[in-house]
């Protein structure tokens, strides 16, 4: 029942936060601490990758949504990716899934980023 957080810069401003193990009463402070550092990097999009997260409790969800709120203050978004069925179930029960797109794979995220890039370029040339 260990927990690890790993932050990776996918491209400038886009950070992937990979969670693994158990995000619970005993481990959520690890995520909170990581998020404080992450906010200082002033990202535009943070994607929480939960492919290897196998357990989450209500305090873990609070921790993620707290980060989302802080990011929003900075004008950044937070999205979720690769929710395993048992993780999605907990989000569902407390009706806490964010309205942002939830990516089911890295490919889907890549397509989304490409689309955003195109829209940005289109916006600049208009």
């Amino acid at each position: 029942m260990t927990f690890t957080v790993n932050v990776d810069e996918k491209k400038p401003g886009v950070l992937i936060v990979s969670l693994a193990g158990s995000l619970d009463t005993n481990t959520y402070t690890q995520l909170d601490q990581e998020m404080v550092l992450l906010l200082q990097r002033e990202p535009t999009l943070v994607v929480i990758d939960m492919e290897f997260l196998n357990y989450i409790s209500s305090i873990g969800i609070s921790s993620i949504l707290k980060a989302k709120k802080e990011l929003k203050k900075q004008g950044a978004e937070l999205s979720l990716m690769n929710l395993q069925p048992q993780i999605r179930k907990v989000f569902d029960i407390i009706n806490a899934l964010p309205s942002q797109p939830i990516f089911s794979s890295t490919e889907e995220l890549d397509r989304y980023l490409l689309q955003m890039q195109r829209e940005t370029i289109a916006g600049q040339t208009e």
Binding site: D24, T25, N26, Y55, S57, S58, I59, Q86, P98
Partner: protein
């Protein structure tokens, strides 16, 4: 019936959140003996964590060491957990239900944990036994195997 019918075990935890790990190991062992499937055990682990963390964080008015007793038994194809603590008298079922229609971040703090517990288990009941808080949670094995969730 299976050997599960005869399973009855007790574990005593300290009022320390780190004890959740010991509970997890105990639950896994009990589950193996009783032949309970993993998704079922995962639900029980989460339902318990929510109750236990509330007890540890909010139930005691002193800094002393307390014991929380958890009795496990199988009864008519259900797992029954009885959680007994000597904290201040408190019935978590009386906590107002969270407003699930509000965006998560705007909701009042509290009530979420017990809502999760009640959703994951089939039955949750509270009574006071000579000053001891007793929370009884029941989950039917067949329901867990189907992996269904009640809302």
């Amino acid at each position: 019936m299976t050997s599960a019918e005869n399973c009855q075990k007790t574990i005593i935890l300290k009022n320390d959140l780190a004890e959740l790990r010991r509970f997890g190991r105990f639950l896994t062992g009990f589950g193996e003996n009783a032949g309970l499937p993993d998704p079922f055990l995962q639900d029980v682990r989460l339902a318990f964590e929510e109750v236990f963390s509330n007890i540890v964080l909010y139930s005691y008015t002193d800094e002393a060491l307390h014991q929380i007793e958890i009795r496990f038994r199988m009864q008519e194809n259900c797992l029954v957990l009885e959680i007994r603590d000597d904290g201040r008298p408190f019935d978590p079922l009386q906590v107002p239900r969270p407003d699930l229609d509000k965006p998560f971040i705007e909701r009042e703090v509290g009530g979420l944990g017990i809502h999760l517990t009640c959703s994951l288990m089939d039955q949750v009941g509270y009574h006071s036994d000579a000053g001891i808080n007793v929370l009884t949670m029941t989950k039917s094995v067949s329901r867990g195997e189907e992996g269904s969730v009640s809302h």
